[in-house]
């Protein structure tokens, strides 16, 4: 069943095959969790909203139409849950991942040794800089750059025009660079020296 596409699995689930949902949950569990964790900056809220997101998938399966890719639909549900959470004023304090929960573990470590040399300092600074992006820029940046959604998928997930996605992405990268200029500059120099 692992070789089936997300859309095929949803159609199977719609027709009563619960094991198809289990595959989808396994495929997207960490994506939804990571997205909400970074978006909200709060592990407890991320857990609640990850649960709400997958519950919504279960409850909406009868009306699911594969017009948009499953990932875009799923992240749209997660984003709406996060926006409702902020509207309800349940946001506590913005924390960076490191200070909020030191037990958070990445699924995959950096792969190359040369990445590890500057990776820990840059990664920590990068996480902090991303956590401080304004909401809309953070949503676009995370979905596009971390979760690998294309422009059209991000547009569907966030209810934006595709052109706006490019603009928001540009603004987010620029803001991050301004924040991380010393570290990214060092990176350029070290690569040039090699």
């Amino acid at each position: 069943m692992d070789e089936l596409t997300d859309g095929e699995l949803m159609v199977m689930f719609k027709h009563g095959r619960r094991e198809a949902f289990a595959v989808l949950f396994g495929r997207y569990r960490d994506h939804v969790w990571s997205y909400l964790r970074r978006l909200l900056g709060d592990a407890g809220a991320a857990e609640d909203l990850t649960q709400d997101t997958f519950l919504a998938v279960i409850r909406s399966r009868g009306t699911y139409e594969p017009r948009a890719p499953f990932a875009a639909w799923l992240f749209r549900i997660a984003t709406n849950a996060a926006r409702s959470h902020f509207r309800r004023g349940e946001r506590m304090t913005v924390h960076t991942l490191a200070e909020d929960d030191p037990k958070v573990e990445p699924v995959a470590a950096l792969e190359r040794p040369e990445d590890c040399a500057y990776g820990s300092e840059l990664s920590a600074a990068f996480e902090e800089a991303v956590s401080e992006l304004p909401g809309a820029l953070k949503e676009v940046f995370l979905l596009h750059q971390v979760h690998g959604l294309g422009d059209g998928e991000v547009a569907h997930a966030l209810d934006l025009a595709p052109a706006s996605v490019r603009v928001y992405l540009h603004r987010a990268r620029k803001a991050l660079y301004e924040r991380l200029r010393p570290l990214l500059g060092d990176l350029k120099e070290s690569r040039t020296d090699d």
């Binding site: 949902f21 279960i58 990664s123 940046f141 750059q145 603009v167």
Partner: protein, 126 residues
């Protein structure tokens, strides 16, 4: 800059975006903590199992069975529940009940966390 404005990149901006993008792609997925996953899987299982046993609208008796409590408890706490009346009968929309349960789950979890924090403070003071 407006949302509709065309983004034209200078060579330097292109380089910057490439560097930021390359760094972002190394940002790892975060693994969901095992305890969180267990709780979420349990909630999803309840939802999937409930779907097999009950229709979208529940009677008082069905809700009591759904919540595994005596029917009298449902009558006693009717004012707290998301119920509606039709043709002189009380009914519950299961989706509303599920939503109500999840809100109570969150409130209960927050209470537990607060209790735990208070207990930690008391133990530290002692």
């Amino acid at each position: 800059m407006t949302d509709n404005e065309h983004v034209e990149l200078t060579a330097e901006e292109g380089w910057l975006e490439e560097k930021v993008g390359a760094t972002a792609r190394k940002l790892p997925l975060l693994a969901m903590p095992a305890r969180s996953e267990l709780r979420i899987r349990a909630a999803l299982d309840r939802e999937l199992t409930g779907n097999q046993d009950f229709g979208p609208v529940l009677t008082v008796e069905q809700l009591a069975r759904y919540l595994q409590v005596p029917t009298g408890d449902i009558h006693e706490q009717l004012a707290e529940l998301p119920a509606f009346e039709f043709a002189g009968e009380v009914r519950f929309l299961r989706a509303s009940i599920d939503e109500w349960i999840h809100e109570r789950e969150k409130r209960f979890r927050r209470q537990l966390l607060e209790t735990s924090v208070r207990t930690d403070r008391i133990l530290r003071l002692a």
